[in-house]
C-alpha cells in the first residue's frame, strides 16, 4: 500500500498540533497538508496536484463548516476517488446521522487516540467504512 497524500482542515491550533504529532505515527500518511482556514482550503484544493487520496475535515470550522466543504468537494469530479472523513468532537446524534446522510465516507470522534488512530486510517484506506464515534 502506497503512502498517500492527505489534507486536514482544522481551525483549532491545539488540534492541528495534536494532528502533527499524531500523523508521525501513522505509516500510511506520507504527506499531510494542514489548512487552518476553510475558505483558503476551498480556493486552493481544486488546484492541488497530485489529487489527495484522503481528506480529514473538522466539522465545527468557521466560516465554512465541514458540511459545506464536503458538498463543494463532492461537486468536483476530481475528488470522486478521495476518501473524505469527518473529525468531530461532537457526539450529538443529529450531527452523526447528518455526517452519514450528507455523504462522508466515515467519521472519527475526538479525542483521537494514538492507540486507535493509525489502525482506523489503515481501515479507511482499505475501503472500510469507519464510523468511530464512541
Amino acid at each position: 500500500m502506497t503512502p498517500m497524500n492527505s489534507l486536514y482542515v482544522e481551525d483549532d491550533p491545539l488540534s492541528r498540533e495534536v494532528m502533527r504529532m499524531m500523523v508521525k505515527r501513522v505509516p500510511h500518511i506520507a504527506n499531510l497538508t494542514i489548512f487552518d482556514d476553510s475558505t483558503d482550503f476551498l480556493t486552493r484544493v481544486h488546484q492541488l496536484n497530485p489529487t489527495p487520496t484522503l481528506i480529514l475535515l473538522d466539522i465545527h470550522v468557521y466560516p465554512m463548516d465541514g458540511f459545506t466543504m464536503l458538498s463543494q468537494l463532492r461537486a468536483d469530479p476530481k475528488f470522486s476517488q478521495t476518501r473524505i472523513i469527518a473529525l468531530t468532537a461532537s457526539v450529538m446524534n443529529e450531527e452523526v446521522s447528518q455526517l452519514r446522510t450528507r455523504g462522508f465516507d466515515g467519521a472519527i470522534a475526538k479525542p483521537l487516540s494514538l492507540q486507535s488512530f493509525p489502525d482506523l486510517i489503515a481501515r479507511i484506506i482499505n475501503g472500510e467504512p469507519v464510523w468511530h464515534i464512541i
Binding site: M21, A89, S90, V91, M92, P111
Partner: protein, 619 residues
C-alpha cells in the same frame, strides 16, 4: 176627532212597533255577541268583551222597559235600571282595551272593584231614592203626543249626575286612547281588526255624545245609544267572525315578543319605530317617546343598515374595555304586492358569548405565542447543547492528547513515576469526558431531544467485539473476577442505534465490574421470540428492593453507589431510556448479598419496527 185620534193611534202604533223591534233586535244581537265572546273567554279580553255586551243588553233592556212603562214609578225604575248598563260599559271597555291582545291581566277583579265602586254607589242611590236630590230633579211624565209616541220621563240633572258623566266619560276617554294606541302599535290583520272593533264600539258612544249635546233629537231628547248597540254589535260580530278576534294567534305572537329576551323593534317604511317589546326597553332603553322617531337617529349603530334588506349583522358598542355585542337581524315586512311597509329588527345581546369567544381567542393566540417561544427556547437549548458538547470536549481532547504524547515518551523520556501520574491524568480526563457525555445525554433525554441514529440489520456479534474488549480491559484489574460469556451463536440482526446499544451494554458491564470484587460477571445474550434478551449478571453486593427503583432515577445513587463514588448516577437512567426508545425494556433482579442481574430486551428487526423507529428518529 175620534177618527183623527185613531189615525194618530195607527201611525203611533206602527212607529212604536218598529221602534220596539229595533230595540229588541239590538238586545238580541248584544246577547249573541256576549255568548259568542263568552265561549272564547279563555283568550285575553274575550271574557271582558262578553261582560261588555251583557251590559249593553241590560241597557237596552232597561230602555225597552222604560218605553213600555206608563207610570212614573215604573218609568223611574227602568230608567235607573239603564244605569247598570250605561255606567258600566266604559269601565268594561277600558278593561277590555288593557286586556285585548296582551297577556291576561292578573287581579282583573281588583280593577273592576276600583272602577265600579263609584258607579255602583250612584246606581244604588238612584234605585233607593229615585226622586232624591242626587237622583232626579222635578221628574215629570210628558205624555205621548204626535211628535213623540211614547210618554217620556223628564227630569232635571242633579249635580251628582254631572259628576258621574264626567267620571264615565273620563274612563271612556282613557279606554279610547288605549285602543287607539294599540291600533298604532298593531300590525297587519290585527290592526284592521282593532280598527273595526274600535269603530264598532265607538258608534254607541258617538250616539250618546250626540244625544247629550242635543245634536240628535228623537222623541224628545231620547238617548239613542241603545238603538245603535244592534248596529255596533253587528259590526263587532262580523269582525269577530271575519278576523277571529279572540284566536290565540295575536295573543301568542304578541306574547312571544313580550316575553322574549331579544329586543324587537318594528319600523315603518320610513324606518320610524312603531313598536317595541319590553326587552327593547331593558336592553336598548326604549321609551314610549321612541315611537314615531327615526330608528337610525335613536340608534346610530342601526343607521347604516336600514336599507330594507334581509340580513344579519354583528355590532360592537360601548368602550373598548367593556364592549357590548349585539347580533341584529333585519327582516323587511312587505305587503301582498311586495311593497315594503316596514322592517322588523331583532336585537340579540350576545355580549356574554362574544366576550367568552374573544377571551378564548386571546387565550389561544397567547398559547400559540407561548408554544412558539417554547419552540424557540427548545431550539436554543438544542444549539446550546451541541455547542457545549463541542466546546467542553475540544480543550479536554487537547489535554488528553498531549498528556498521552508525553506519557508515551514521544516528547522525550519519562520515568515510570511520571508515566504513572500521566496515566492517572488521562484516566481522570477520560472519566470527565464520560461525565460530560452522560450529563449531555441525560439533558437530551429529559428535554425529549434524544434522537437515535437508527440502522437496520445490526450484527450484534460485530458490535460485541468492542464491548467485550472493553470489559476485558476493565476486568484485567480485578483478577478475582471472571468474565463469563453466554452468547447464542447466529443471533438475528437488530434494529437500532449501534452506538447507543454499545453504550447500554458497556454501562451495565462497567457497573457490574465496579461493584464486584470476587466471583464473576456474566454477559448473556439470547434470542427470545421477537426479542433479543441481554443479561449482565454479577456476584456483587446486590441491590435492596427499596433501592431498585431509585437506581433508575437520574442523579440518584444508592449508599453503595456513593461509596464507590465513580459515576454520575446517570448511567442506569440513560440506559433505561435508551432501551425504551428502542422499544425494549430494562429491569433489575436482585437480592442483597446475592448479586444483581440487569436484563434488557431489544426487538429484533421487523419492517414495522423499522418504520416506527425511523419515524421516531426523524421527529
Amino acid at each position: 176627532m175620534s177618527q183623527v185620534r185613531y189615525e194618530i193611534c195607527d201611525i203611533v202604533s206602527t212607529q212604536t212597533l218598529a221602534f220596539f223591534f229595533l230595540c229588541f233586535a239590538s238586545l238580541i244581537l248584544s246577547l249573541v255577541v256576549a255568548w259568542f265572546a263568552w265561549r272564547q273567554r279563555r283568550f285575553a279580553g274575550a271574557g271582558t268583551f262578553a261582560v261588555l255586551s251583557i251590559f249593553q243588553a241590560l241597557w237596552t233592556l232597561g230602555y225597552i222597559g222604560e218605553l213600555a212603562a206608563t207610570g212614573i214609578k215604573q218609568k223611574m225604575f227602568w230608567d235607573s235600571f239603564q244605569n247598570i248598563g250605561s255606567f258600566s260599559i266604559p269601565v268594561a271597555l277600558l278593561i277590555f282595551s288593557w286586556e285585548y291582545g296582551r297577556a291576561r291581566l292578573t287581579n282583573l277583579w281588583r280593577w273592576w272593584i276600583v272602577l265600579m265602586t263609584l258607579p255602583v254607589i250612584y246606581m244604588v242611590i238612584v234605585f233607593v231614592d229615585p226622586l232624591g236630590g242626587y237622583s232626579r230633579l222635578n221628574a215629570v211624565i210628558i205624555p205621548a203626543s204626535e211628535t213623540s209616541p211614547f210618554a217620556a220621563l223628564q227630569y232635571g240633572y242633579p249635580r251628582a249626575l254631572y259628576w258621574m258623566f264626567i267620571y264615565v266619560y273620563l274612563v271612556l276617554a282613557v279606554a279610547l286612547i288605549e285602543l287607539i294606541r294599540r291600533i298604532i302599535m298593531a300590525r297587519g290583520v290585527f290592526r284592521t281588526q282593532l280598527i273595526l272593533v274600535t269603530a264598532g264600539l265607538l258608534i254607541p258612544i258617538i250616539a250618546s255624545i250626540a244625544t247629550l249635546a242635543g245634536v240628535v233629537e228623537i222623541y224628545g231628547q231620547r238617548d239613542i245609544s241603545p238603538l245603535t248597540f244592534g248596529f255596533s254589535s253587528l259590526i263587532v260580530l262580523a269582525t269577530l267572525r271575519r278576523y277571529r278576534l279572540f284566536d290565540l294567534v295575536p295573543v301568542a305572537r304578541e306574547r312571544v315578543a313580550e316575553v322574549m329576551r331579544d329586543s324587537v323593534l318594528t319600523l315603518d317604511s320610513q324606518d320610524r319605530v312603531v313598536d317595541f317589546n319590553p326587552s327593547a326597553r331593558r336592553m336598548l332603553g326604549a321609551e314610549i317617546t321612541l315611537l314615531g322617531k327615526s330608528a337610525g337617529d335613536s340608534y346610530p349603530w342601526l343607521a347604516a343598515h336600514l336599507d330594507h334588506t334581509d340580513k344579519e349583522i354583528d355590532v360592537e358598542l360601548g368602550d373598548k374595555t367593556q364592549p357590548t355585542y349585539y347580533n341584529v337581524t333585519f327582516t323587511p315586512l312587505t305587503d301582498s304586492v311586495g311593497q315594503n311597509n316596514g322592517t322588523l329588527v331583532l336585537v340579540r345581546d350576545v355580549t356574554a358569548r362574544t366576550r367568552a369567544e374573544k377571551a378564548l381567542e386571546t387565550l389561544y393566540s397567547e398559547q400559540v405565542q407561548v408554544a412558539e417561544k417554547l419552540r424557540a427556547v427548545d431550539n436554543i437549548k438544542s444549539q446550546f447543547l451541541a455547542s457545549m458538547s463541542h466546546e467542553l470536549r475540544t480543550p479536554l481532547n487537547a489535554i488528553l492528547n498531549f498528556t498521552e504524547f508525553v506519557a508515551l515518551g514521544i516528547l522525550g523520556e519519562v520515568n515510570d513515576a511520571q508515566v504513572d501520574a500521566l496515566n492517572k491524568s488521562i484516566d481522570s480526563g477520560r472519566h470527565l469526558l464520560s461525565l460530560i457525555n452522560d450529563v449531555l445525554d441525560m439533558t437530551k433525554i429529559e428535554s425529549g431531544m434524544m434522537k437515535l441514529f437508527v440502522e437496520p440489520d445490526i450484527n450484534i456479534h460485530a458490535e460485541l467485539r468492542q464491548v467485550i474488549a472493553t470489559a476485558e480491559t476493565l476486568l484485567s484489574e480485578k483478577p478475582e473476577v471472571t468474565f463469563i460469556k453466554d452468547i447464542d451463536a447466529n443471533l438475528p440482526t437488530l434494529l437500532g442505534d449501534r452506538r447507543r446499544l454499545r453504550q447500554v451494554l458497556l454501562n451495565l458491564i462497567s457497573n457490574a465490574v465496579k461493584f464486584t470484587d470476587e466471583g464473576s460477571v456474566t454477559l448473556s445474550i439470547k434470542h427470545r421470540g421477537e426479542n433479543m434478551l441481554f443479561a449482565v449478571t454479577d456476584t456483587g453486593p446486590g441491590i435492596a428492593l427499596a433501592d431498585q427503583s431509585m437506581i433508575f432515577e437520574p442523579f440518584r445513587q444508592t449508599e453503595t453507589g456513593i461509596r464507590h463514588a465513580t459515576g454520575t448516577g446517570l448511567g442506569l437512567p440513560i440506559s433505561k431510556r435508551l432501551v425504551e426508545s428502542h422499544g425494549g425494556r430494562l429491569w433489575v433482579e436482585s437480592e442483597p448479598g446475592d448479586g444483581a442481574a440487569f436484563y434488557f430486551t431489544i426487538p429484533v428487526s421487523s419492517p414495522e419496527l423499522t418504520q416506527q423507529l425511523l419515524d421516531t428518529a426523524k421527529a
